[in-house]
Symmetry: C2
Subunit: 270 residues, 2 copies
């Protein structure tokens, strides 16, 4: 894999601030945003808007979430050109995407990525997440607290989402992006490229839980999903159907469990 040095994820600008006392110039740290084009076997696949970091993780995570690669063995070569905003991925079987399939696939998955899975047939073909892992409320609160303190770029800019893969006791990998979906894809891409096991683990996201996020998690057989934010009705239905424990609205001393609450075990009462 060839990697170019990427530019950093934030920059500083001077803005006019207006208050009761009048106008002044202040320096503010803002999140950077770049277009990233993914080329799959020399075909232009998609352009994402993202934070300029870990572009290889993002590209691989995206291809995985879209079902275009299944695992690391499918990847022949990845070339990241951070300056021009291009990631080229060649696959082992070097398939040419059938124009018609690609057309349908990407269109239905564009703004509502994963929408192609909504048909009943597709959902019936998906297997439930079977992991028997359990987690205590105390561990959920501790992980959520650690997660919140981890995001330096959010603290500086208030303009990014974060995601993390954890075991029940600590954060294993963490990433951030201006896009809610991208942050999760970066985590999934890192797991694929670095052979990080996901099946008995926990994913935390800063964002609201909509159906696409839920389907990404299901695709890696991750049994537990945690968010400080809230889920939509469709993500709750999917989580339940796919056997995923969905925990949301996490606050300092409170959690909501939306589905599959048998994975929550009694912790030590304090």
């Amino acid at each position: 894999m060839e990697l170019e040095v990427l530019e950093k994820e934030v920059s500083k600008i001077t803005v006019s601030r207006i208050t009761d006392e009048g106008k002044s110039s202040v320096e503010q740290t803002i999140a950077r945003e770049m277009p990233l084009t993914i080329m799959l076997n020399n075909q232009e696949l998609v352009t994402l808007l993202c934070s300029p970091s870990d572009l290889n993780y993002l590209a691989i995570g995206f291809l995985f979430s879209e079902g275009l690669i299944r695992n690391k063995a499918d990847i022949k070569k990845t070339i990241v050109d951070g300056k021009r905003g291009i990631v080229r991925v060649d696959t082992e079987n070097n398939f040419e995407l059938d124009a018609d399939i690609l057309f349908k696939r990407i269109i239905t998955s564009g703004c509502g990525r994963g929408a192609s899975f909504y048909s009943t047939v597709d959902l019936q073909n998906r297997t439930k997440v079977k992991s028997q892992i359990k987690i205590t409320p105390q561990d959920i609160l501790a992980l959520s607290h650690e997660f919140q303190n981890r995001s330096q770029i959010y603290k500086e800019t208030r303009c990014v989402h974060s995601a993390a893969l954890c075991d029940t006791k600590s954060i294993l990998i963490f990433n951030e992006d201006i896009g809610r979906h991208n942050a999760v894809d970066k985590i999934l891409g890192e797991c694929i490229l670095n052979d990080i096991w996901t099946e008995e683990r926990v994913l935390i996201t800063s964002g609201r839980i909509t159906s696409e996020i839920l389907l990404k998690i299901a695709h890696r057989n991750i049994p537990i999903l945690i968010s400080r934010s809230v889920p939509t009705d469709l993500s709750i239905k999917l989580a339940n159907d796919l056997g995923i424990t969905l925990i949301g609205f996490v606050r300092a001393r409170r959690i909501n469990v939306y589905t599959q609450d048998w994975r929550i075990e009694d912790g030590d009462k304090q």
Copy 2:
């Protein structure tokens, strides 16, 4: 135009809430999410995930933002099938989308909608927003306050974004959606369908400002964009190049002006 009665935007569920005192069942209002497929001249164009309301505004706003319709006169017929989640739009010239153009267009505009405008040539062809309208800091704070109090669904669910078109004194139209882009597209679609003038007006969004949002606004020549959230560096650059006054990070008694601050005029000091 034929409209079917749509289902409502929220539903109630019972969730397990775990606190220091133990586990209880509570009722929570959650946002509904549905897939909506847009068919343009009998061709499947895209599937969006959205809140189940104002699907006609969303479809028309989306088509406009993507450059596929220019105005109301381009629209021959719109049929909304809320139950099946389909909006069919037929245009006057009944063009068949060229597969190659559509392919490229939708792909580059999928997750990073509007990405096709990033090339220098395209940006050079875009005209600056010329409106000479001005607004006082007091009006900005008052509009932002009214906007925040307006969102009933957000208050109930914490799971939607909102957007509004305003003049400098009050909100003219308001909408909400689980998607940040969708909320803006619903506003633009309503403007097109109901002949609402946008050129000397103000758009408020609850979401962070990324480049796609900025390009949507520019496309309707809206001169002033306000958000409580923050912009990315790319959206600031585009706002400046396109002559749009970008106001962010609005708090109870404070605003940041990122670009084109000549549209901010001194108000009455209190």
